[in-house]
């Protein structure tokens, strides 16, 4: 069962206090274990009160993450995590809302929602654990899979160009854009904490290897490297940088300062009476 906390005097919690204790369904060696560790460390570093935090997801291996956390969670339907998180945050601006999922959930079936979540700029953080594959259904190509990757569903490869999530996020108006590598727990922790703390819609792509269906991704740890320069506040510069890099630059790419969507308003006490009056002829 979940732990009981005092609202009045929240003690400083350790990262492990933010784990629910439920055993993940993930395969041994899955990058998502590192993401779970990084996320709990980031939440602990921010000293978030568990009951005031909600983690919302869709469907897929990585979308199982809310149940492994000690906070409020919602494991919804495939592809609709962002609308679920948006509704929750708009209705309950007092909560910290994190949305999490994989590349199939976020870029394929839920791709449209990504565009509009970036545009809308609700104050949520979207964490995509990108392993370039549908793992839960045992290895089909996703929107970020290379075109020549061979699989049962697409023998010889899809022949289709991969989707570039960071460029799309920038073009659509995300207010914070970063890429991290799951195995770099320290860097991912730092970036997640920064993303959660940044106002507006923060988008973090985490390269999270699927060792079961993409054993080649074990090499990612040797490929990733910090970017040659620091973040920018110019989305055009950020987009050019990320479109011309090798896909393994990690770190914060862009920080914006756009207005945030959906600030709550004060309730009007005269409200009920006004409603009836407007229909009178």
């Amino acid at each position: 069962m979940v732990r009981r906390m005092s609202v009045a005097a929240p003690c400083k919690l350790k990262a492990s206090d933010y784990k629910s204790g439920t055993k993940p369904v993930w395969c041994p060696g899955c990058g998502d274990f590192h993401v779970l560790a990084s996320l709990t460390k980031a939440i602990a570093a921010l000293a978030l009160v568990p009951e005031n935090l909600a983690v919302v997801s869709g469907i897929g291996c990585s979308s199982r993450i809310p149940a492994y956390l000690n906070c409020y969670g919602f494991h919804g339907v495939h592809g609709r995590a962002l609308p679920l998180a948006t509704g929750l945050k708009v209705a309950r601006p007092d909560l910290t809302v994190i949305c999490a999922g994989g590349d199939g959930d976020g870029f394929s079936i839920g791709g449209n929602h990504l565009l509009h979540a970036c545009r809308r700029n609700v104050d949520i953080t979207y964490v995509v654990m990108d392993n370039e594959i549908y793992g839960m259904t045992k290895g089909q190509p996703s929107p970020t899979t290379a075109p020549d990757w061979d699989s049962e569903l697409a023998p010889g490869g899809t022949g289709v160009s991969p989707f570039h999530p960071l460029v799309i996020a920038l073009a659509s108006g995300a207010n914070f854009v970063a890429r991290t590598f799951a195995g770099d727990v320290k860097g991912t922790t730092r970036t997640l904490a920064e993303a959660i703390g940044h106002p507006g819609f923060s988008f973090v792509q985490i390269l999270s290897p699927c060792v079961t269906f993409r054993p080649d991704q074990r090499e990612w740890k040797n490929k990733v490297h910090p970017p040659p320069v620091t973040f920018t506040t110019d989305p055009a510069q950020a987009a050019r940088r990320v479109m011309t890099d090798d896909g393994f630059n990690i770190g914060v790419l862009y920080k914006g300062s756009r207005d945030i969507y959906g600030q709550a308003v004060e309730r009007n006490a005269e409200f009920e009476r006004d409603l009836d009056a407007e229909f009178l002829v």
Binding site: R4, S6, E51, Y72, V77, P83, A91, H116, D276
Partner: protein
């Protein structure tokens, strides 16, 4: 019971887009209300976005009316440019008056052949005689005069409608209307003056739905525009804000239902509104709300289907989709308002049911109910004890989906210390952990079914009128037509008839129905769709009399009371 034969007066105003017939119809209705009349207006439009022919179909009456009459007393064409398509729903006869402008084309053949009395009115010329005067105001004055509406009431209606445009605009419109008024003669219209100004409401079903939602406590709405449901959302947008709530425009219906689910998970009563194609997209989300036990109201303003169908015309053909559309065994609630004004009550009830049962409720309105505007008595506020069973104090070993006697489990809202859980569309244990275990699945299925089946729906499940060994069973907008049809039939027929209007379509109420059908030996089911969807549902789920008949036909034309009276009379005589 509404309306009485012979006491109402029906007027159709036609004109090409921009001619302002809808505005004139609105003002006619408002002016009639000021004279103590009741009334109803629907707008009939062609498929064009702008510039096509449109018609305001207005019915005035000395008693409340909730449906159109069979025929029109007056048809006024500002022009007849593209009137043919609209005229199919505007019946005229030798007792009708057709008003035409000699400066425009001749009246269409179908009208000329009806034997209706033709009257010439130089609307264009009269309008031009007032600087800035408009033809639709001349038309308004003329038909208002025919209906016996006072000049003061016309002036008031114009003032109220366009007063924001300034004194000059009002004076010009009033002057043009008075020119039309001066040319008219009072015809056989209902007596005015019986009521008091200011004690009537003028409201559309879609606005009534919004009002019911707000009265019920909805404070979050997600919106994706779709005909004919958009006005619910547009009406709610500023008013939700005034109430301290929010409306968010979504990128599609998949997003809108999931936004509403997210907001409701956060503890805020939530709603979205759509029509057939949108409902199809929302079905997966409805299943999520069932499984995760999230209160939610989805208003589906039905239009003729399938697919894009006929977006501006009504049909009761989403019944099956609303009842059976969800995959898995997914207990939920479906309710239907049975008149324009009943949208207030039924939507408020829907919010109550959703909140109380932690389940999704579909409200099946339709294009007629939604977009018709009625002049009616104010709809009193009703208070339900609507309170979600929230877990405020979290005991040790708390279980979100605990197996309870009534199937309803206390729900912790985010922010409640110790209540942390993950709401899930995966089957789960009582403790909200994902589970594929048979005993968990059956326990949760039973619990979710029990909370819907055992809930106390009281007398709201159906409106029952009359008594006798014959019964008519209907729902939605068809109910108003049936009510009026029954008033037209002789006492020897209606004295044997009971009318059952279902408000609660799902879950089934076998015991209530058995009581309602006690002593009934023949049943007639009336609905507007191609396959008799309610009729087949009733046969599957209820014990019915051996003799059950069905009257069903699809849209786009709404049922008219004469048509239904004939069918009922014939059925009673069988």
């Amino acid at each position: 019971m509404t309306g009485q034969p012979g006491m109402s007066f029906s007027v159709a105003l036609l004109g090409k887009g921009g001619a302002g017939v809808i505005t004139a119809g609105d003002m006619l209705l408002a002016a009639a209300a000021r004279c103590g009349l009741y009334g109803l207006m629907i707008r009939a439009v062609g498929p064009q976005i702008r510039g096509g022919e449109s018609a305001a179909l207005v019915r005035l009456s000395s008693v409340p009316v909730e449906c159109l009459d069979d025929r029109f007393d007056v048809v006024l064409g500002i022009d007849w440019k593209q009137a043919e398509q609209l005229l199919s729903e505007i019946a005229v006869d030798a007792d009708s008056i057709v008003v035409t402008d000699p400066a425009e084309d001749a009246v269409p053949h179908s009208i000329a052949a009806s034997g209706a009395v033709l009257r010439q009115l130089e609307m264009k010329e009269l309008a031009e005689s007032v600087s800035g005067g408009r033809v639709n105001m001349v038309a308004l004055g003329y038909v208002a005069g025919l209906a016996g509406i006072s000049q003061e009431a016309i002036r008031h209606a114009i003032e109220k409608n366009i007063g924001r445009k300034g004194r000059q605009a009002v004076d010009v419109s009033v002057a043009a209307a008075m020119l039309g008024f001066s040319r008219s003669q009072r015809s056989a219209a209902p007596q005015t003056g019986g009521g008091q100004a200011g004690n009537r409401w003028m409201i559309s079903g879609n606005h009534a739905t919004g009002l019911g939602a707000l009265r019920g406590g909805v404070r979050f709405a997600a919106a994706y525009p779709i005909t004919p449901a958009t006005e619910i959302l547009e009406w709610l947008a500023p008013r939700l804000k005034d109430a301290g709530g929010t409306l968010t425009q979504a990128e599609d219906e998949l997003a809108s239902i999931n936004m509403a689910i997210g907001a409701s998970y956060g503890g805020v009563p939530s709603l979205t509104a759509t029509s057939g194609p949108g409902l199809s997209l929302m079905i997966e989300g409805l299943g999520l709300a069932v499984c995760a036990e999230i209160p939610l109201v989805v208003v589906n303003v039905m239009r003729a289907g399938p697919s894009t169908g006929i977006p501006t015309k009504p049909e009761q053909s989403d019944f099956n989709a609303a009842i059976y559309g969800l995959h898995g065994d997914a207990p939920h609630i479906v309710v239907a308002p049975n008149s324009v004004t009943d949208c207030v009550y039924t939507t408020q009830w829907a919010v109550h049911l959703a909140e109380a049962t932690q389940a999704p409720v579909i409200v099946l309105s339709d294009q007629f109910i939604g977009q018709a505007i009625v002049v009616a008595d104010p709809v009193p506020a009703i208070s339900f004890f609507t309170k979600r069973k929230v877990a405020e104090e979290i005991p040790e070993a708390f279980e979100r989906y605990a197996i309870t006697a009534d199937g309803i489990s206390p729900m912790p809202l985010p922010g409640t210390a110790g209540g942390q859980y993950t709401a899930d569309g995966l089957e789960h244990s009582a403790a909200a952990k994902p589970s594929g275990i048979a005993s968990d699945h059956s326990a949760q299925l039973d619990k979710r079914a029990r909370k819907i089946a055992d809930f106390d729906y009281g007398q709201h499940w159906a409106d029952i009128e009359g008594a006798g060994e014959l019964a008519i069973l209907t729902w939605g907008s068809t109910a108003s037509v049936v009510r009026e049809a029954l008033q037209r039939l002789p006492d020897k027929v209606t004295g044997r008839l009971k009318l059952i209007t279902l408000r609660l379509l799902l879950p089934v109420r076998q015991e209530d129905m058995a009581a309602a059908l006690d002593g009934v030996n023949r049943l007639l089911v009336i609905e507007q769709n191609h396959t008799g969807q309610l009729y087949r549902f009733l046969r599957a789920w209820y014990d019915l009399p051996a003799d059950v008949d069905t009257v069903h036909r699809p849209g786009p034309g709404v049922f008219r009371p004469g048509e239904i009276a004939t069918r009922i009379d014939a059925w009673c005589g069988e």
